[in-house]
Symmetry: C2
Subunit: 120 residues, 2 copies
């Protein structure tokens, strides 16, 4: 097992949550997460967001649709990729969340111990 939780897994949790709340395309979620994590001094990199989304699709949790941003033609023709849960995507996601929670708790245990041991 890896020492620490992977950034990819960490981001997947947040992306699943954002898709669940119907805020659903890559660039927007990236910007949202950037804002959300600014206080923690963490800037999620663009490449990881897209890689995480692609993996969630490959894993059969999400699927993609394409849409023209704005909807009204003549206004904005930018094409965006929206994400939605597949039929059994929610169950799969729940399973995945469970796995990540185990890993997250393990990491917190390790890091909290280090914090106590060296900087208490």
């Amino acid at each position: 097992m890896a020492f620490m939780i992977a950034q990819r897994a960490f981001l997947k949790l947040y992306l699943l949550k954002l898709v669940e709340e119907h805020r659903g395309y890559g660039y927007q979620m990236l910007e949202e997460l950037k804002t959300e994590f600014a206080p923690q001094g963490y800037v999620p990199p663009q490449s990881e967001i897209y890689r995480a989304l692609h993996e969630l699709v490959q894993e059969g949790i999400l699927y993609r649709t394409k849409k023209l941003k704005g909807g009204d033609p003549g206004v904005d023709f930018q094409e965006i990729v929206l994400y939605h849960f597949t039929d059994n995507g929610m169950e799969k996601a729940q399973l995945y969340r469970k796995q990540v929670k185990t890993d997250l708790d393990r990491c917190l245990g390790i890091l909290n111990k280090a914090s106590r041991d060296h900087f208490s």
Copy 2:
């Protein structure tokens, strides 16, 4: 900056502490840390221990001496490598600890937030 704290940096903290307490060779420290982290389900890999020690030497914080284990000849001729702080090693270590603390706190902030956001 990397997403999470590196295992190497994490281990260096513990190795510096063990050397400070005069428990000082690789294999022994490895076994000690294995025992210490058993409850957290973390098994520090042998290779990382040695790599971390080598780096601490390269960074001028520690230096090495060699010794025959047991001391008494005829009993055990296994050669072991002991580690000690250099002249200004303690100061350097203190500086390093400070840096790692910053990183550690950043990681804890991120992971605690995730824990709250998804599993509260």
